[in-house]
């Protein structure tokens, strides 16, 4: 069994990360009734003997003593991390896993990447090493951050670089929250584009998230609950946005519902690596199957169902609906419509009481309405995990490598160019040691190249399919 380490950077990263740990504990508590520290738990948690204080040794088997998250919490201002440490999760983290500063990055990628990066490099490396040492077989780093600010974006991508240097064999999965059009951070386009270059070059897989999509999903759920259309009540803990049953007892904060969606995404992604199933799908398989060319590693994700009714009996029709929903526009976690764009590859990770025939039936049913690239007409990767998420009897995560990410990137580029042409706010960046004009031109060039690659693929869509001729053998 392998372990994963979560590195949460910046305000957004830490808030999402916090939700992740909370829901992870909830999920494992639901499955692990006996309180034994098992392999599934060990993928994200250490079991520490705290009787002699926080620095006790790890316990590898037997009863759970004190669970500690395999995480690194990084923020250049203290507010968010302090709140976490005063909240119900305070025992899940220890002081050795935190790196904080006081003044923040001022929404400036250069401050996060160049100044704090330099300043905290050794500290970060040392803490990463420590966390890695506690792992028997470290498979993956999950970075959670936002792209639009200064710390998550700048320092987050600095850490990404560091991970590649120090742990080249370990996978780097990045969950990036992209800024929306009405973002109140004026320099978010600069920060995002500068960060994109790093993601292009150093990440194995990126899961882009857009707040607008999360917001729409939250609204949809609220509407459904309030409209009373559902007839029977919805199971509170099944809501993909809910913290019900978790450690949080205080009033929910505004972003909590949205962040829970992202937390659920990460839980789902790693479920097959933690729990058993008839067709396992590990993290290295996700990277292998969904990344046909090194730079095209942006995966659009969707989670269904968003909620479960309290009714226990869910007929097959509802199961098929789950599959249909996964491909609909309003279930995607970025503003994109994969159905009308080109698929390079698609993965379906099902959890719960679903069998291979259900999977096959739905793939056959949905395939005709989807466009796949000519060299990957049957490009499906599937996984079946027996353990469903809390409150559900089954659920589905769809990951698509699809050209529908292009509009997000094009918009980003456009917003960047609007500022850059006028050289607006540029001086805040250029005055930082190590920053030059070339950083900007290289970054935008990297983004343009990426967009061009997607353009070329899109150009092949719908065109005549000419299969290359096979090798001829002399008889």
């Amino acid at each position: 069994m392998t372990q994963s380490v979560v590195v949460q950077v910046g305000q957004c990263g830490n808030q999402v990360g916090c939700r992740f740990w909370d829901l992870a504990l909830r999920e494992h508590a639901a499955v692990n009734k006996k309180g034994i520290y098992d392999e599934a738990l060990s993928s994200f948690f250490r079991n520490v003997d705290t009787r002699s204080g926080d620095n006790g040794p790890d316990i590898y088997k037997g009863k759970i003593c004190s669970l500690k998250a395999r995480a690194l919490l990084i923020d250049m201002e203290e507010g968010v991390v302090n709140e976490i440490l005063q909240g119900p999760l305070r025992d899940v983290f220890d002081s050795k896993q935190l790196i904080t500063d006081v003044s923040g990055s001022g929404n400036n990628w250069a401050v996060g990447h160049k100044i704090y990066g330099c300043q905290y490099r050794e500290n970060i490396v040392e803490k990463l090493r420590k966390t890695a040492e506690h792992c028997d077989c470290l498979q993956c780093f999950f970075i959670i951050h936002s792209m639009g600010g200064g710390t998550g974006s700048g320092l987050g991508t600095f850490v990404l670089n560091l991970l590649e240097e120090e742990f080249p064999e370990v996978y780097r999965f990045v969950t990036s929250v992209y800024p929306s059009g009405e973002d109140d951070v004026i320099t978010s386009p600069y920060n995002s584009v500068l960060a994109m270059k790093e993601l292009n070059e150093h990440a194995d897989c990126v899961l882009p998230i857009e707040n607008e999509s999360l917001f729409e999903i939250v609204n949809k759920i609220n509407q459904m609950i309030n409209s009373g259309k559902l007839g029977s009540t919805v199971k509170q803990n099944s809501l993909v946005t809910s913290s019900a049953g978790s450690a949080k007892t205080l009033q929910e904060k505004p972003f909590d519902a949205m962040n829970n969606i992202v937390a659920n995404l990460l839980l789902h992604l790693t479920s097959s690596a933690r729990f058993e199933g008839s067709l396992n799908m590990d993290l290295n398989e996700i990277s292998m199957n969904l990344v046909p060319f090194p730079r095209l590693h942006y995966l659009v994700s969707s989670l269904t169902p968003l909620y479960t009714l309290a009714d226990v009996n869910i007929p097959s029709r509802r199961l098929d609906q789950m599959f249909s929903d996964a491909f609909s526009r309003d279930h995607q976690l970025i503003q994109a419509d994969p159905k009308h764009s080109l698929y390079l590859a698609c993965a379906l990770l099902v959890r719960g009481n679903v069998q291979v025939s259900d999977l096959r039936r739905n793939i056959e049913r949905l395939k005709p309405s989807l466009h796949f690239v000519s060299w990957n007409q049957e490009g499906w990767k599937t996984g079946l995990c027996s353990v469903p998420p809390v409150g559900h009897s089954h659920s589905l995560l769809a990951l698509a490598n699809n050209t529908c990410v292009k509009p997000t990137f094009i918009e980003l580029k456009d917003r960047f160019m609007k500022l850059y042409k006028k050289k607006a706010h540029l001086h805040h960046y250029l005055q930082i040691d190590g920053m030059e004009q070339s950083c900007f031109s290289e970054a935008i060039s990297s983004l343009s190249d990426l967009i061009e690659e997607y353009n070329e693929l899109d150009a092949t869509k719908g065109g005549p399919r000419i299969d290359p001729s096979r090798l001829k053998i002399a008889v």
Binding site: S278, S287, Q355, V356
Partner: protein, 450 residues
């Protein structure tokens, strides 16, 4: 003679478990429908082949379990032990912590050499426990990373370490519409490599078995367990003891050797397909009766028309006229030409069955005499509650179309160079791919021109 089974990867281990389950449940059953003496002889022969005795009296499967991540093996071991009727040797397994990531190159070039010694030690131990080693039966899928890549490597090691032993690879072909996106690459690499070291490849296709589950077994929500149980039944029907020579002789002592001798006359032709009839849900068995002539007639037509199961057989397909020298282009469309066939009959009144229709020369290529191209093994001892059961193991054009389809899709992807960076980083280069494509195009060409 005993057979050592090597179960590789998730698929290999899941199916392997079902196979030993099926074998064990068959010999424990009281539905043999034959004399007590026959039953005992069958029982002993099966035990010798697949199990060894332990002090506790619980038979221990002669198997080595290999996987690069621990979940499946640990499940397999505990499920077997829970049955109470058989188990695996608690030391005969090897696993690591992180799987092969569906990457053939990772399984073959990284895990293979790294763990060769440990794995081969386990195999050696199992081989030594056999009074007489009859050969190896490896079980794997070709779509993933461990079964396929590490499996190909291990097969090579077996060949090097046991040059005189028979090696039969059971290979599961994945669903056509993907379980793994790079499955066609992994398949091409696996098949071309196995072709070098293996004696024969016995193939099951997931699509085919799935259809059997849906249409014949009437299973509504088909799970991999259901699929694996059908596969296990079909394999059991081939490998349980039979009389290969004639009535009155003892049970065959060299099943793998006999299989190779009858079915693989030429190293260019190693692909074996398997058909088994009848197949039905267990609760229907009591209400069905079959006649041997009926079963034989269906099986023969399944062979000729390349039907995957006993429903939906195309009865229009006929063999070409006997006697005329037919270039392959003039042969009737969809006619499945055979090199060699083996029919295995189990159950009531077996010894009087007329198999002349299978000896029709027009079914075969001209290289062997029809008497040599066709063999029959029989036993009056019924198998797995089926009063009568007929299996066909065929070296014919059964797998030509599926193979061609896999190679075509892999080539299509290869031409765009998609995913190649995932393989080159572990040492499998484009030239290696080309070699594999060449090998398989050769195989396709050979089978096409029968």
């Amino acid at each position: 003679m005993s057979i050592v089974t090597v179960q590789l990867g998730q698929c290999g281990n899941q199916i392997g478990h079902e196979v030993f389950n099926a074998l064990c449940s068959d010999i424990r059953g009281t539905h043999g429908l034959c004399s007590k003496k026959e039953n005992e002889s069958y029982h002993d022969s099966c035990k010798e082949r697949f199990f060894c005795e332990e002090e506790s009296g619980v038979p221990v499967a002669r198997a080595v379990l290999v996987d690069m991540e621990p979940k499946v093996i640990s499940q397999t071991l505990s499920m077997a032990a829970r049955s109470g009727h058989w188990k695996y040797n608690s030391h005969s397994h090897f696993c690591q912590k992180q799987g092969s990531g569906n990457n053939w190159a990772n399984g073959y070039s990284v895990h293979g050499p790294r763990h060769k010694e440990a794995i081969m030690n386990l195999v050696q131990k199992e081989a030594e426990k056999c009074d007489r080693l009859g050969g190896f039966f490896t079980m794997m899928s070709m779509a993933g990373g461990t079964g396929s890549g590490l499996g190909a490597f291990v097969t090579q090691c077996l060949r090097d370490a046991f040059p005189a032993s028979f090696i039969l690879n059971h290979v599961v072909w994945p669903y056509g519409t993907g379980e793994v996106i790079v499955q066609n690459y992994n398949s091409v690499l696996t098949l071309s490599h196995l072709y070098q070291s293996s004696d024969a490849l016995l193939v099951h296709e997931n699509d085919v078995i799935h259809k059997i589950c849906a249409q014949l077994m009437n299973i509504k929500q088909i799970s991999f367990r259901d699929v694996n149980q059908v596969i296990a039944h079909q394999l059991g029907a081939v490998f349980q003891p039979t009389h290969t020579v004639g009535e009155g002789s003892g049970y065959s002592r060299n099943p793998l050797g006999d299989l190779m001798e009858t079915l693989v006359p030429h190293p260019e032709f190693k692909l074996l397909g398997l058909r088994n009839i009848p197949q039905m849900p267990e609760n229907s068995l009591a209400y069905s009766t079959f006649s041997w002539p009926g079963l034989i007639k269906h099986l023969r037509q399944m062979l000729i028309a390349n039907a995957k199961m006993e429903e939906g057989i195309d009865w229009q397909v006929r063999p070409p006229h006997q006697g005329s020298s037919m270039p392959s282009t003039n042969k009737p469309l969809h006619f499945n030409t055979s090199i060699a066939n083996l029919v295995i009959l189990r159950g009531k009144d077996v010894h009087g069955v007329d198999l002349g229709s299978f000896q029709d020369p027009s079914l075969y290529t001209s290289w062997l005499n029809p008497q040599d191209a066709f063999s029959a093994w029989k036993t009056p001892r019924a198998f797995n509650k089926y009063e009568k059961s007929a299996s066909l193991v065929s070296n014919s054009q059964f797998l030509l179309k599926p193979l061609d389809s896999i190679v075509g899709k892999a080539w299509n992807m290869f031409a765009s160079k998609a995913y190649l960076h995932q393989y080159t980083k572990f040492g499998i280069q484009e030239e290696d791919f080309l070699d594999c494509f060449t090998t398989l195009e050769q195989v396709i060409s050979s089978y096409t021109n029968l």
